[in-house]
Each structure stands twice: as structure tokens, then as C-alpha cells.
Amino acid sequence: MTDVGSTQFDVRDEQLDALCDRLRTNPGPIEFDGLRATASDDGDTFGLEIPDRSHGDLSESEFRGVASEGDVAPYVTNWYYWEEVVGHRGRHRRTFLRHAEAADEHAVPERYDALESGMETEWGEVVVTATLGSGGHRRYEVRHADDTGVETRELDAHDDPLDAREIATYDDRGRYRPLKTAPSLVSGWVFSDLDGRDAVETLDVLYPASVANWNLEREGDLDVTHWRETAERQTGIYDVIEDLDPEAVEWVAEACCVDSQCLKRREWEYDEAHELEADGGAGTFPCREPCSLVVAAARKWTKLEEEETHTYEFDLTPSEKEQVEAIVDAVADGRTEDIREADVYEGANRYRARFLRAKRFDEHGNLSGTPTHPDEDGTAGHHGDHDDH
């Protein structure tokens, strides 16, 4: 990507051409990130200012010479990159890329120094590193945060943002990831040399709509839709979820939306007047509405919550009661795979669970031989309710 005889600090002829063209075709001055450039009405003379330096009444060749000098060039290539390469279409993309080099906080020379060694932005589980390419063009690297410091050649190299689709589809055990913001993105890959458009596209594949929603929030324009409104909007098989009690919505948020389950920061509440107590998380980008997974799970919970409680009698030793609690905890925290096969001190250990089942379940799978529905014969199994519509 490097031009012969050109470094990241040099101005290219085409950039100077663009600067002159812009000043001649548009009568207004250029004022951008500390660069001020002007042209006379007839387009024959030019002026150029950066902090602590000012030149006026320059011929075009003098102007091009000054613009190419060491301390001025970064201002010119910086203008070219942001105004001619990135442009203003795609405001979310532009804002993100400006954010990736803290453009609103640091002057051009400091930024160029920082970009030389790379400026990092965390985004969910990934890190975007902005660097300088030739002629001040920015290049971006995207990799998993767990791979920070790993040699690039040791990672699977990609250059097409759409490759991220495959990366984001399965977790490290090959299971389908229906929620892209679940903290289960695999590591071991790198997009090492992307332009700005492809960098944002890669993030948009890994974390769909996250850049747009993050920027809308920055602009104070994020359209948060609270639980109640989302529930009332549903039709078909999901229209039942509006019957779910507010208390149960708390449990939904606690079950599904905390940082251990989803990296989006929950901004929706029960409704505008009633906040949920569950932790919304500390994620970089917001969650503006209950997602389809939450809606689908809530449908199941709405049906389950319609049931009345019933008093059962079970015979359990104190340790068995604690073991049941340990099993629920292990499943809820996704720890079952981490419990070692021979670690019989863990209640959720497989042998411990099998022992409990052998001792306490009858031939129909009923705990302590107690039927689920006492008026039935106890054989009623668990019936599935898999609906993916």
C-alpha cells in the first residue's frame, strides 16, 4: 500500500490538486481540524494557516510548497482524508472513525504521533486500532481483545468484512450464536489492514447496528423503545407477552440482559415511568429495545407465569437441597462445562447429579416420586414448545 518515495507524512500531488480545486470551486475558506486555507476571488493567490503559522498572498506553486512542508503536511493530509476520502455521507461511520482517533480531543500533530504507534478503541469484545498509512490515509486493524499483543502472523488473516459473518456465527464449541452481542465471540483472527469503510462494515457484521445506535445516542437521538411499547406492538404468537407481570420483566432483564449475557448496555426500561432494577450493563453501545430473543423467551415465560404455584413435598437431605441450588447456579452461569469430571465436591458435577437422580427420581423422572400433576398418573412428560416463528 506504500507509494514509492511517499511516507505517511508526505502530501501527494493529488491531495494538493484536490486542495486547490476545492478552494477554487467553493468560495468559502477551508477550516478543518486547525487548518485554514483560502483562495482569492480570482483563484490566483492563496492563504494558509495552521496554529502558530500563517502565510498569505501565495502563488499556487508557493502554496503547494508551504502545504508540503513538514509541519503543515499533516494538516493537509488530515483534511484530505476526512473531507475527500471519508466525506460526510454515512454520518455514523464518520463519527465512529473520528472517535477511533479521538479527533475532537487532540490536535493533528499529536494525533499523527499517536496514530503512528496505533490508537485503540474497544468495541464489544474486539479492539479497533487506527494507524497512519501513506499520505495520511488511515488504516484500521480489528481483532479480538483476547488477542491483544499476539503476533499478527499467528492469527487467521482476513481482509473481507463479510468474513466476519462466519467468525460471528459459532462460539468456540461450534454452537450457533443467535445473539451477536453475547460475550462469546471466538478469538484467533485479525483484519489487519482495512480502510475506514471496511472497518465499520466489519464491526457492523460482528455487532449489527451497534455503530449507528452508538452514534444516535451520542447525538441525543437514540429512539429507545421500552418493554411495554414493544410488548404491545407484538402480534401473532407473541401478542401474549404484554400480559407478563412487571415483576417478571425484571427477571427477564436480569436473566438475559446483564453484561455476562449481552454486551449491549440496556437503555430500555419497563416503561418511561418505571425503571427496571436489573443492571443494564456498562457496554460501549446501547440496547434500544427488547431484542427478538428476549421477546421469544418472554413468550415462554408469559405462558409459564400463568401457572399457579403448588405446594409439593419432597424429601431431600440438606446437602441435596444445596446441590439442587448448585445445579441451577451452574446452568444459569454457563459453568457446567468447566466442572471437572472427578470434582465430586461440586454439586453440579455430573456424577453427583447422576447419583441424585438415581436416588431421588422414580421411573417417570419425578423428583422424590412426587407427580407434577397430582391428579394425573405421574407419567405426563415435559412437552416441548419449540416455536421459531
Partner: protein, 297 residues
């Protein structure tokens, strides 16, 4: 600047559901007709609710990757995309003829050309035939062959059967196959009895479904007697009651589906003629000489 957004159902459980949507989007992206090509899903991300904000263009063609007009195309998609003032009458459809109607998206302000579903477009007939070519490995398949188009049936939506009949009629009119029959999963004539409806020894069976899943991979193969247990697989063709059944799987996985998406957008005013020609040629798996082996699996 014009953008294409393909909207589809997707799944929380099965990654195969959205695979054809992504594949067709990739084909169209490679043809270069649109400045942006994006996908949005009911069950995956970006959601229908948020897909438009990932699009930078002001003018967006939205094509639903659905088989028929009904609940999703008439209620769910327009509601979730926030199409201002949407009413199904805007399509003026008889259940098969929805083409396009233009609205403003309330949240983004974009101009949205909301197209009818791919399944009812006339170009879908060609995809069914192309699927038969692909599964038999014969670009001229027809002589000596019967063709069955299989649909879900009317359980949830009467327009679903209309689409099946429509394409079966059109293929019959081509006079290419010996016999053409519409069959259903949940009503007569049933796909279970496929061999009763054909005299031809060879029968290609193409389900008019968008993606492979429970129905196309488990129900239909078992119902037709291709296998007792879908997990053990089946041959293409499989001999059943003296017929060779060439089971094609969901038509939506056929590469030429990308053409129907483009046709929908072109009908809605997108300027993409050259891309249509490119996609038609590049999605062909059987070459003109018919040398390419069958890829059915």
C-alpha cells in the same frame, strides 16, 4: 445512491435459515448494481427494526425473501421497518400480484420501495426449473421427467397455496416436463403420496421454501419415504415405489434466487439491468453442455 435490503425470517436455533439470504446478498453485492446491499431479519441481527439505520443511502429497495403474501409481508415487516402510512391496499394485490409501493421510514426518513415477496414473482418459476436442472445435473432436464412443486399448504395462509399453483401452472405451460403437480404438506394432494400422482419414472421434487430446515430436511424426505430417519440421509435420486425421486431441497438455496430479488427491485424502479444478466449467468451450476455432475445432497 441506491441500496438493497433483503429481509428474511432467520432463526434463533438454526444458522441454515439465514444462509441463503446471505448467499444471495453476496451474489448481488458482487454484481455491483447497488451501492449497498444489506440483510435484515425477524429473528436475527440486524433486526428488521434496526436494519435501515445500517444503510447510508437515502433510497432503499426492500425485498422480502418470503414465499407468499401474508402475515410477514403484510404486517410484521412494514410495522418493524416503520413504513409510515403502510396499508396492504397500497400493493393492490389479489394475493399474488404485490409488486411495490413507496413509503418513508419513520425513524430514518429514508425513501423505501417496499417490494412484494420473491415467491410470487414470475421469475421464481425459472428458479424452480433451474433447481431441477441443478439437482439432476442436466441443463435440459424435462423429457421423461415429472416435476412436483411442494408447498406448506393453507394451514396458516391461503396465499401460500396460490403461489404453489401459480408456478406449477406456469411450468406446465412450458411443456418441458412430462407432468407437473402441486403437492402440499398439510392438505390434499399430499406430498406423502407423491408417487401416486406421477406416471413418469423420474420425478423431481422441489419444495417452494426459502431455506432448508425442519420441513424440507426432516418432514418431507420422511413423508415421501426417501428415508426412515432423516439423520441417516438419503440418495438423490432415491427409488420409491418404482419411481426415482430427485429431491431438490428448498428452492431458496438455488443461486438463481438472487435474480428474483433483483427482478423485484428492478420492477420497483432500481436501475440494475446489467446486474440481472450477470447474476443469471453466474448462478448456473450446470454448464450449457450438461457436463457438470449433479450436486444434490
Amino acid at each position: 445512491m441506491q441500496a438493497l435490503v433483503i429481509v428474511a425470517h432467520g432463526s434463533h436455533l438454526n444458522p441454515d435459515s439465514s444462509a441463503p439470504t446471505h448467499a444471495h446478498a453476496d451474489t448481488i453485492r458482487a454484481a455491483g448494481a447497488f451501492d449497498e446491499v444489506k440483510t435484515g431479519f425477524w429473528k436475527e441481527e440486524p433486526s428488521l427494526r434496526e436494519v435501515l439505520r445500517t444503510v447510508e443511502s437515502e433510497e432503499v429497495f426492500v425485498v422480502p425473501l418470503f414465499i407468499s403474501e401474508g402475515y410477514f409481508t403484510e404486517q410484521v415487516i412494514p410495522r418493524e421497518l416503520r413504513l409510515s402510512g403502510w396499508d396492504v391496499s397500497a400493493w393492490g394485490s389479489d394475493g399474488l400480484s404485490a409488486d411495490t409501493a413507496t413509503f418513508t421510514a419513520e425513524d430514518t426518513g429514508q425513501t423505501i420501495h417496499y417490494c412484494g415477496p420473491v415467491g410470487t414473482h414470475e421469475a421464481m418459476t425459472d428458479v424452480l426449473v433451474r433447481r431441477a436442472e441443478t439437482v439432476t445435473g442436466d441443463p435440459d432436464v424435462g423429457e421423461g421427467f415429472g416435476l412436483a412443486v411442494v408447498g406448506h399448504g393453507t394451514e396458516r395462509n391461503e396465499n401460500s397455496a396460490k403461489a404453489i399453483e401459480y408456478h406449477a401452472d406456469r411450468i406446465r405451460e412450458m411443456d418441458r416436463f412430462e407432468e407437473v403437480q402441486a403437492l402440499y404438506m398439510d392438505e390434499e394432494p399430499e406430498v406423502d403420496d407423491v408417487t401416486d400422482y406421477f406416471e413418469s419414472e423420474d420425478v423431481v421434487v422441489v419444495p417452494l421454501f426459502i431455506a432448508d430446515g425442519f420441513h424440507t430436511q426432516e418432514d418431507i424426505p420422511e413423508d415421501m419415504g426417501l428415508t426412515d430417519d432423516y439423520r441417516t440421509g438419503y440418495d438423490v435420486p432415491t427409488e420409491v415405489d418404482g419411481h426415482r425421486i430427485w429431491y431438490a431441497g428448498a428452492v431458496g438455496t438455488e443461486g438463481l434466487m438472487a435474480d428474483v430479488v433483483l427482478e423485484r427491485a428492478a420492477d420497483a424502479g432500481a436501475d440494475i439491468e446489467s446486474a440481472i444478466a450477470t447474476v443469471r449467468e453466474e448462478t448456473r451450476e450446470t454448464d450449457a453442455g450438461g457436463e457438470t455432475p449433479a450436486t444434490g445432497d
